[in-house]
Amino acid sequence: GAGVSQTPSNKVTEKGKYVELRCDPISGHTALYWYRQSLGQGPEFLIYFQGTGAADDSGLPNDRFFAVRPEGSVSTLKIQRTERGDSAMYLCASSGDYNEQFFGPGTRLTVL
């Protein structure tokens, strides 16, 4: 079946612009996670949804970052006033009953 998908695969933007990154989880998965991976490092947790609500957003670095999941399926990560330090691979994962997280291919964000 279809795995986790993320769009766009690549996003290049200018400093100060607003970006949205989309994640389509595996159908029926109630849990959805966002991670950020900088070059040469492991993924770092950003936010976790259980259904429609953000169960834990302790990993969001500051208030420029926000994520929603209005219908409990697709999620959008929103970054305002982007900075060069936001450049990274943004990964989404979803999980169902057995807590195994299935990852998407990621969105590579480059802020010029």
């Binding site: 996670y33 492991g42 993924p43």
Partner: protein, 109 residues
Amino acid sequence: AQRVTQPEKLLSVFKGAPVELKCNYSYSGSPELFWYVQYSRQRLQLLLRHISRESIKGFTADLNKGETSFHLKKPFAQEEDSAMYYCALTHNAGNMLTFGGGTRLMVKP
């Protein structure tokens, strides 16, 4: 706070040699430990988890609570094992993963 350390950024071995990728963690409770793998041009995927106590693609990992380690081992490396390997832990509240920095395994012919 939880932390996962993978001391080797790069591990290079010859085909048929034994492999051990090191992972140490710090966590005050009882975490669940995982190894994830990312092959070239593929997405991150689960390799194994300590509660399953199974061998996947010839790899095994034993949780040593005394040494707070979860090293990944394979007796005879194959070229197709070349990939990035990430050790990770989670706890029951939310299951978000804390990853180590990763180790690149290169298996030479």
